[in-house]
């Protein structure tokens, strides 16, 4: 089952990788990085997740010390307004930030699966390997042991989800969710939240540069945690 899920995810991943990141929307007119302050929206709740090796990983250890862009996803998501937009955006951000001296050692990316049943560590390992080649910006993939263990994190961040069910109440494959990307500062505060109407690589990069200026000691190497 896990092997089949991994193959399915690999196929989806391949399709996603085929979509070049250049199709992100036109950039809004943004103020210069550092010329504005992002609001301190809320503290990022901690949660015990699983890393790509299947080892317990506190979310705070993934986000602490760096500027982190975090999104929730699931590997077989095909909602064109959901995960594919996050994928496309993160790919562009990873590429551009990796050659940007202001960000290349300060920004981390993190995807957390909404579907621990199907997205086990093997799937996370596959995705993490695919997305951490030559790029300087690390992109971590995390899952959890169960829906129940993930639920408090989703509630605390306001990441609303609903499982698709058939007439008999049996759960289907789709997980309806509103795409949200959270930009977290090195102290663990959520400083911006992006939804579909607001998410572009340019706006995320602009805000990440603003936080990088605010936190000159931020470092994205995992040793710096």
């Amino acid at each position: 089952m896990a092997r089949r899920a991994a193959k399915t995810s690999a196929a989806v991943l391949a399709a996603l990788l085929a979509a070049e990141a250049s199709c992100a929307g036109e950039a809004p007119l943004l103020p210069a990085p550092g010329s504005y302050a992002l609001q301190r929206i809320q503290r990022t709740p901690d949660a015990l997740l699983l890393d790509a090796e299947g080892k317990p990983a506190a979310l705070s250890l993934v986000t602490r010390g760096a500027v982190t862009a975090l999104a929730f996803f699931y590997a077989h998501c095909v909602d064109p307004t959901g995960c594919p937009v996050a994928w496309s955006t993160f790919e562009t951000v990873q590429q551009e930030a990796s050659v940007d001296p202001a960000l290349q050692n300060k920004l981390r990316l993190a995807f957390v699966s909404l579907d621990p049943t199907h997205d086990g560590p093997a799937v996370m390992r596959l995705l993490q390997k695919a997305k951490n080649g030559a790029a300087a910006i690390p992109w971590r993939f995390l899952t959890s042991r169960s829906d129940a263990e993930l639920a408090p994190l989703l509630r605390a961040l306001g990441q609303d989800i609903a499982f698709e069910r058939d007439a008999a109440g049996r759960r289907g494959g789709a997980i309806n969710h509103m795409l949200k990307v959270f930009l977290i500062d090195p102290d663990g505060l959520v400083r911006e939240i992006y939804t579909t109407a607001f998410l572009t690589p340019q706006s995320l990069l602009n805000d990440a540069r603003t936080l990088a200026l605010e936190f000159p000691n931020a470092r994205n190497s995992m040793e710096a945690r």
Binding site: A18, G25, L30, Y36, P80, V85, M178, T196, L199, S203
Partner: protein, 428 residues
């Protein structure tokens, strides 16, 4: 997949994503925040009316009234739920959180904010939180407009606790109700410090605000107010264009006569907004000129301005081709053709009642709802103080009444702001 095929596939995907990423804002289904999920593009099921308690009417308390608007339902057009919040604090406007699960509702007198859970069961909203330290924690008074940002609620206040005048500000809460930031309205470079409505164009990173008046005026009896020449000078005459990301004012426009509700055109790629001025009875267009400079200019009269028809709420169609404009004094609604937003034309009018304030239309524009109360001390007196919700069908030519709820006969109070919900809103 060869290179050309892949390019075509990508182009198709980009078009799809681009279309879906267009600002989804919308009529009172279209006037919601573009950051809000689950626009109801089909049939709304429940209509919630934030209702002012009225002395001698029912329990006399402010309340959230829920009405079944599902055609064919045994309780269609009937009140199916009420929840009183206690006291009379000048209930006014409401707004959904970004996930459309919670409805924030404000009171202009005591500045309380009530948060209702409308996601668990929209037929029976539950009060889950009351913010009762708005004035103390922000210095502002009169939380008026509630506008969803991702994970946050942006609130436009009308007044301040120091002098109860019109100088005020914007307040940001997170969705848990924790105060995040306060931002004063500009009082320099032409700014008068006043506030009223909020409207955001995410693609332009632009926020527009308008300006009304302070607590002293909006709590004064209207008959007394219009005789008070000094008080009548204390109305807003500006709109402000903000850099949304930075929350910094960029331009202050002169818009005399209390510009109220603001609606951005929802048509993708069209970046203009429209507002109505209450005291000068004009439609103003906010748009970039040929030099890409933002300007506000009067583009039409609403009725006969010399007769002070008092334009109040407006509602723009999803295709930005038409605009409903209510005029309180004659109790009428007017439809303007916005095909040329530089020259709107009134093409239809209908008397709704002795007084009319709010208007809300469905996304497809086929259903239009009206309520009556403006402010407790500004509503008409005696027999003209009609308080109702009326639902109409619009076929493009005529408004046809579908049902009416008499808020006095039902013991409810003064009917003010309306919001729609549905049990299974279709996510975009």
């Amino acid at each position: 997949m060869n290179h050309n095929t892949r390019r075509k596939t990508l182009a198709g995907l980009c078009l799809l994503l681009g279309a879906l990423a267009a600002p989804p804002a919308g009529a009172d289904e279209t006037c919601n925040s573009p950051f809000m999920a689950g626009l109801i593009k089909g049939q709304e099921q429940f209509l919630h009316v934030w209702t002012l308690g009225e002395k001698g009417v029912g329990d006399e308390s402010d309340k959230l009234v829920t009405i079944d608007v599902i055609p064919g339902s045994p309780t269609y057009g009937k009140v199916i739920h009420t929840i009183s919040v206690g006291g009379r604090g000048e209930a006014h406007h409401m707004g959904f959180t970004d996930d459309r699960k919670y409805l924030w509702a404000g009171r202009l007198d005591d500045s309380k904010i009530f948060v209702f859970d409308v996601g668990s069961d929209p037929a029976a909203p539950k009060l889950v939180k009351t913010i009762d330290n708005f004035a103390e924690s922000t210095g502002f008074v009169g939380p008026h407009t509630f506008y969803a940002l991702p994970g946050r609620m942006l609130v436009q206040a009308l007044s301040n606790k120091t002098d109860h005048g019109g100088a005020t500000g914007l307040v940001t809460y997170n969705n848990a109700g924790d105060l995040v930031a306060t931002t004063p309205m500009p009082r320099e470079n032409g700014g008068d410090g006043y506030g009223y409505d909020i409207a955001i164009n995410p693609a332009q990173n632009r926020l527009l605000t308008s300006s009304f008046t302070g607590w002293t005026n909006y709590m004064m009896d209207m008959g007394q107010l219009v005789q008070d020449s000094a008080a009548m000078k204390n109305f807003g005459n500006t709109m402000v264009l903000w850099d949304l990301k930075a929350m910094k004012p960029q331009e202050v426009f002169s818009v005399p006569g209390a510009p109220l509700e603001i609606r951005w055109a929802l048509k993708p790629g069209v970046d203009w907004a429209i507002t109505a001025t209450a005291l000068t009875s004009k439609l103003y267009l906010v748009k970039q000129d040929e030099n890409r400079q933002w300007r506000a200019k009067a583009v039409a009269d609403i009725g006969d301005p010399s007769k002070l028809p008092l334009p109040v709420d407006i509602s723009i169609s999803a295709d930005a081709k038409s605009l409903w404009v209510n005029t309180f004094m004659d109790g009428s609604t007017r439809l303007f053709d916005l095909s040329d937003p530089e020259a709107p034309r009134q093409v239809y009018t209908k008397k709704i009642g002795a007084q009319v304030n709010m208007v809300s239309q469905s996304w497809d524009g086929k259903r239009v709802y009206f309520t009556t109360s403006l402010l407790a001390n500004w509503d008409k007196k005696g027999a003209d103080n009609e308080q109702f919700l009326k639902a109409y069908a619009w076929d493009g030519k005529e408004l046809t009444e579908q049902f009416a709820v008499d808020f006095h006969k039902e013991g409810l109070g003064r009917a003010h702001h309306m919001k729609f919900t549905a049990r299974t809103p279709k996510a975009l």
